[in-house]
Symmetry: C2
Subunit: 195 residues, 2 copies
DNA sequence: GTCTATAGTATGATAGAC
DNA sequence: GTCTATCATACTATAGAC
């Protein structure tokens, strides 16, 4: 019992980050005030600075955590083996991971321009690392004959844009289950990459 | 010579809209002040209200004009005839149109959440009209045997996301000409939609 | 048509009481 | 750890001079 009564650092910290993520996703980083975030958490504006250096750090930390989570999760799931099998796993993983974190994904795409130059570089590096994963699978697939793409980088960008686009239109409880969506997207992706 | 000396309404109005578009695209609607727009144009902040009702109207008007331009331009270009030919025309048109108006496209996607509820509905209706164009071509293509898609709406959304994604990575003077990019994207789109 | 001045309010961040 | 109070600054929009 070394901790003081009334110390909620481990509870309030995550709540601040969650509130900021929700509000940034809904209204945009620039449109949200520290007072709004504080109100959502149930503390005063000044108290937020116990959990974050400033508003910029709040944004950067959540974007960086998101990108790291994306890269780590793929590392864990990557089945290895044939490029065709790896890409199918990636398509399903990408759709699931992005649908489960709609708010973080939204922020990661929309708020790049609100990062300081150094923070922008850091996040862009992480994004490139993910794009490189996809590009690598397509290149390998070209080599072993699983795919026949003219330009692995272009095709990687096309595939990523297509998959992330699910977030903009899919709504739970609609006509199609997410599993069905994964199925059809994988079918489209596969066909688009073979001779 | 009915106009007063010093009257520049027809000149300043468009300059205000152009400056706003440039600044909103670069920094985001919420992050841009009326003072910044005025400075860019070379007038005082108060003078902007001669050319727009308020900041919201500035945003809505540019988004609405963009969506109308998109729909009108396709109407003019649509070759009719077989769905396969129409879709190829649309793929090339979409890439070209969106690449030529990067700032307007960026705003149309990013600033939806900064529209008032009524304005949001209006823009969303225009967007749906465009999506309906693509979906219609795919449905017709299913009927006449040009395409074999399981769900025309899903495939329309997938195609649109893929094509608009070009804006996020293509840079003029890079490895590939835009014509080459159109070629490869059309190849991917076509293959993804046939048996 | 554009200016200056200003009303009224909100902002990010900090200092110091408890 | 959280509060209140506050600094210094910025904001949108309007009024009224020219």
């Amino acid at each position: 019992m070394a901790r003081k009564t009334g110390s909620h650092s481990e509870i309030t910290g995550p709540r601040v980050r969650a509130a900021a993520e929700r509000l940034f996703a809904r209204h945009g980083f620039a449109a949200v005030s520290m007072r709004q975030i504080a109100a959502e958490v149930g503390v005063q504006a000044g108290a937020l600075y116990l959990y974050t250096k400033d508003k910029q750090a709040l944004l950067f930390d959540m974007m960086d955590a998101h990108m790291i989570a994306l890269l780590d999760a793929w590392q864990d799931i990557d089945p290895g083996g044939r490029p065709m099998a790896r890409l199918e796993a990636l398509v399903r993983f990408h759709i699931q991971f992005h649908m489960e974190r709609q708010e973080a994904v939204f922020i990661a795409y929309m708020e790049l321009r609100n990062l300081t130059p150094e923070n922008y570089v850091a996040i862009t590096e992480r994004r490139k690392a993910y794009e490189h994963v996809v590009e690598g699978i397509l290149s390998d697939g070209n080599t072993v004959g699983d795919f026949a793409v003219e330009d692995a980088h272009l095709s990687a960008m096309a595939v990523i844009a297509m998959l992330t686009g699910v977030n903009t239109w899919y709504r739970e409880g609609g006509r199609l289950s997410l599993e069905r969506v994964e199925e059809i997207y994988w079918d489209m992706v596969r066909k688009s990459l073979v001779g």
